[in-house]
Assembly symmetry: C2
Homo-oligomer: 231 residues x 2
């Protein structure tokens, strides 16, 4: 063990993605107490002595943005770059999550001056190493799309297949092979065709689908892995 007293602070940061039809956003704040920079940053702050890491990240998020998520997943702990915070050594445990931001208007709280959703393509250079952290989170989110049906929580309960396509195209940031995608997704048996149709644009009304969570859970327990390959 170290002979000298440990002088390392522990923080948490939250990368909250918001997805709405054709747009991927991320939640950013301007810190009130960081006088010498005018930069945007991820919501986050120091862990308190009597709270768990999970409690800490949820508290910081609520305090700084007014937003709460049902579930944040631990992403990675950033502690290899010793000077990542100019105020002293801080190791941060990053968490990420994704929500449908409809009705979730950020409200800058006690610790933040401003809080906003930024389209991913318009994110400015962030404070500290937050640009790198956001990049790691985005890569993880994209990877997860390939093996977990996270996307379904972001759509309406009943949706035309094209909405699911848009979601994948938007988050992955590239075109997908629509025919293979449809074939693959439907082959899993986790989507149910409903009797409803919706008129979109000038074409024929599109069949609406529904995600069958029970079927997915069943398959998951059998060792099923939701796997989509994009050429």
């Amino acid at each position: 063990m170290s002979k000298t007293l440990q002088n390392i602070k522990l923080a948490v940061d939250a990368i909250v993605f918001g997805y709405q039809q054709n747009e991927l956003n991320v939640l950013l704040i301007k810190q009130k107490f960081d006088g010498d920079t005018d930069q945007w940053a991820l919501p986050g702050g120091l862990v308190q002595n009597e709270e768990s890491l999970t409690e800490a990240v949820n508290r910081e998020l609520l305090e700084e943005t007014g937003i709460q998520l049902q579930y944040l997943e631990q992403l990675y702990t950033f502690g290899d770059q010793l000077d990542r915070d100019h105020r002293g050594r801080v190791v941060t445990v990053a968490y990420f999550g994704i929500v449908n931001p409809k009705g979730m208007e950020p409200a800058a709280g006690s610790d933040a001056d401003e809080a906003h959703w930024f389209p991913i393509s318009e994110v400015p250079i962030l404070a500290f190493d937050h640009t790198k952290i956001l990049d790691v989170a985005l890569t993880r989110l994209q990877a997860k799309l390939n093996y977990q049906p996270i996307g379904f929580d972001l759509l309406d309960e009943q949706f035309p297949f094209s909405d699911l396509e848009s979601l994948y195209r938007t988050i992955l940031g590239k075109e997908i092979d629509r025919r293979n995608f449809r074939k693959k997704i439907l082959s899993f048996g986790i989507l149910e065709e409903t009797n409803e149709k919706r008129k979109i644009g000038s074409g024929r009304p599109a069949t609406l689908f529904k995600f069958n969570k029970n079927k997915y859970k069943e398959l998951e327990q059998e060792g099923f892995s939701f796997e989509i390959k994009f050429a």
Copy 2:
């Protein structure tokens, strides 16, 4: 930010798996300075002020076991259970890796009384929350087998196919469908048949295979995902 001074210590722990023909081991130590327990634990300790997390875990591992790994991967940061260490609040960043332990005899160093490889099936109840941490690491290792060719580093450069089968069977802790496994692995094109054969037991000599790392890297860049399903 917290109004009171933060009083949380930051540690690292290493879960080092050793694989040899038909046996999965994990590296454990007995701590010298933990007077009131006689329990085995994972190698690890507090992070020093001037070292990165990666440096810390490698240093602790070397100090306590004499063993060094080329690569340790960050597993998870355990900080939700406030009393996981009875000496005060400690959050630990766990790293894991796997090696061929041939020629790697642990030598208990300055901080440890004993250091040994334990077969996974014979691991005693560990100190702190280390039983849980080991469990998370094993689950991650098993999951990785399904999408990364980690296994190949643990075999001889040329190996009969049955060695690869044993590796999967041993780490997953269950029988696998040999025929499907062989078909799937060979379909990836990342194994090369050599002209060498080896006599195993009383049967016909078995063809030896070689892992084609260049081919794997090539496929990986094309978005190939090494995916094996076990029914």
